[in-house]
Amino acid sequence: MAEIRFAGYGGQGIIRSGIIVGKAASIYDNKHGTMSQSFGPEARGGACSSQLVVSDSKVLYPYITVADILVAMSQAGYDKFEAELGDDGLLIFDEDLVEPKSPHGNIKTFAIPATRFAEQLGKKIVANVVILGFFTAITDVVSYEAMKKAIPDSVPEKAIDLNMKAFEHGYNFGLELLKKQKDPQK
């Protein structure tokens, strides 16, 4: 089972990220993925997060108890949810938007300039999909194939190509990073 928190601010596609991974896991990987979005009465524009629980069996408790993975796309989101990350957790963040403290426990951190990559690809708005590609490479929550099916399902038709490019870009960056970590000489 994996408990995942996506955090950022309204407009970054934080809820959408939870939906894409949840959909990939539940529809294309045949797991159980339960996504809940949390917002206060003030809702739009401000801090925003979604929580996703992915499991091989039915998800009974739909909220995060101890997060296994935090995907942070804003400093405020990181500051708010860093504490719920377990000691063996995994932190994935946009390195241009988040400046993490030194991590507690054995937390592993993975940084990516997702928003910068997205801008280079043509549209800042796909930064969340860049980070989802990176997420797919780093974690074993969802399969690459499932994500490739879930993304076109979840974005407007005219934006599919751009989103798929963004996903591949993040995914390849993640694979490269893992390779470098395994074999620092190269």
């Binding site: 939870g18 939906i19 949840g22 959909k23 539940s26 529809i27 159980h32 993925g33 339960t34 996504m35 809940s36 979005q37 949390s38 917002f39 206060g40 009465p41 809702a43 998800v59 009974l60 408790y61 739909p62 909220y63 708010k80």
Partner: protein
């Protein structure tokens, strides 16, 4: 009768409970929704609005909830299936007309996505504190049906079932969901239209001059006619005779009100839906509904790991209440544990049926969140270890309550 393929969005979706209910209404043949959008139920309206107009369905945003439910009653009498959707204070505003619907034997569905209360409460978070209001909220004597779904898939399935039972028994049917399920996104499978059973309206087909709008069939439910189709229809919230004309005598009141309650009570066995698990040789039985029943399964698992023999009874329908089932379980069960997101509502109906034969432990929750499964497990353990008989309902103290009321609680953003 099977669903109309044009109304069924067959496929596999990843949607939240609200949206699933909106799609369920479509599949059930709902052609009209009137409402006043309110958090956390708004996504259900949106889902219906996105697809409904393409197949001739209509949504009207009314001036308020009083207007909304009145428009729904009117729409049903024009011959179509109809629903309203609300939450929190909106639900309170609808109470008077729920009774009007029951009195006029108007089949409609009301989806209530319960939120934290009372009053404006916590609009964006969950609660289960409207349960008694759903049963007793309108004045006068009547019976109705209420479901408590626990997942987006059930929101789809039971919205259809709610429409079907409304037509079958000609009464208002409540879907008593909550914010957690409403805003929970999961896989939902919408089957082919020919796999979905639809209960058609009981239309009168005889000669118009002989039509009596409130003359019951042998199962106590009368047939309907469409307003405007040439039948004589007299519709009033006053006590009425078979023609629909006002009457006020004691004998008639007895006859009519008894039929309103009996058409549900005598058909209870066909209406009530329960999910029972391992209750045969259980010392403790957890009775729950909606999101709490889902979280309770985790509590039950923890308690079983501690070696306690515990079973679970899930109320898929909460009203009518399964009196006989609880009474039967009480004969062989040491104690009942009832988690609900309120300070005691359905638990007192459990107590009524247990009738002092077993202990009863309420696991309360003040709203804006769901139970910690460990609290439910602890309550089960407490119930298993308590040998003396305790009068009334024991209120279990949860971790959060200890934190809040016994110090150590810091306000967290």
């Amino acid at each position: 009768m099977k669903a109309n393929p044009k109304h069924v969005l067959t496929g596999v979706y990843y949607i939240d409970g609200d949206v699933a209910s909106g799609y369920g209404a479509m599949a059930a043949g709902c052609r009209f929704i009137a409402g006043y959008p309110i958090t956390p139920s708004t996504e259900a309206f949106e889902a219906f609005c996105r697809w409904g107009p393409q197949v001739g369905a209509m949504f009207i945003q009314m001036e308020d909830e009083l207007g909304s439910i009145s428009a729904v009653v009117g729409a049903v009498w024009s011959g179509i299936k109809s629903m309203t959707i609300t939450s929190g204070p909106g639900y309170s505003l609808m109470m008077e007309t729920i009774g009007y619907g029951a009195m006029l034997e108007t089949p409609f569905v009301l989806l209530n996505i319960q939120r934290g209360g009372p009053s404006t409460g916590v609009p964006t978070k969950t609660g289960q504190a409207d349960m008694m209001q759903s049963r007793w909220g309108s004045h006068g004597d009547y019976e109705l049906i209420a479901f408590a779904p626990e997942s987006p898939q059930e929101m789809f399935d039971y919205t259809i079932r709610a429409f079907n039972l409304a037509e079958k028994y000609r009464c208002p049917v409540m879907i008593m969901s909550d914010e957690c399920v409403g805003h929970m996104t999961e896989k939902v499978v919408i089957p082919e239209a020919d796999k979905i059973d639809i209960e058609p309206r009981r239309f009168y087909t005889g000669p118009p001059e002989q039509y009596l709008p409130f003359k019951p069939d042998p199962d106590l439910v009368p047939k309907m006619a469409k307003a405007g189709d040439g039948f004589k229809l007299y519709i009033t919230g006053l006590l009425h005779d078979e023609k629909g004309h006002p009457v006020s005598n004691e004998e008639y009141s007895m006859k009519y009100v008894k039929r309103l309650v009996d058409k549900i009570r005598l058909n209870k066995d066909k209406i009530i839906e329960l999910k029972e698990e391992n209750t045969e040789d259980a010392d403790i039985v957890v009775v729950s509904y909606g999101i709490s029943s889902r979280v309770a399964v985790k509590g039950v698992e923890i308690a079983r790991q501690r070696g306690i023999k515990v079973g679970a009874l899930r109320l898929v329908t909460v009203w009518p209440f399964p009196d006989e089932k609880i009474a039967e379980l009480a004969k062989k069960t040491k104690a009942f544990v009832v988690p609900e997101i309120n300070y005691g509502q359905v638990v007192f109906d459990v107590a009524r049926c247990v009738h002092g034969q077993s202990n009863i432990v309420l696991v309360p929750h003040g709203g804006a969140g769901v139970h910690n499964p460990a609290d439910i497990a602890d309550a089960i353990e407490y119930a298993a270890k308590t040998d003396k008989q305790i009068e009334g309902v024991v209120e279990f103290k949860t971790r959060l309550e200890k934190l809040v009321f016994e110090g150590g609680f810091k306000l967290k953003e």
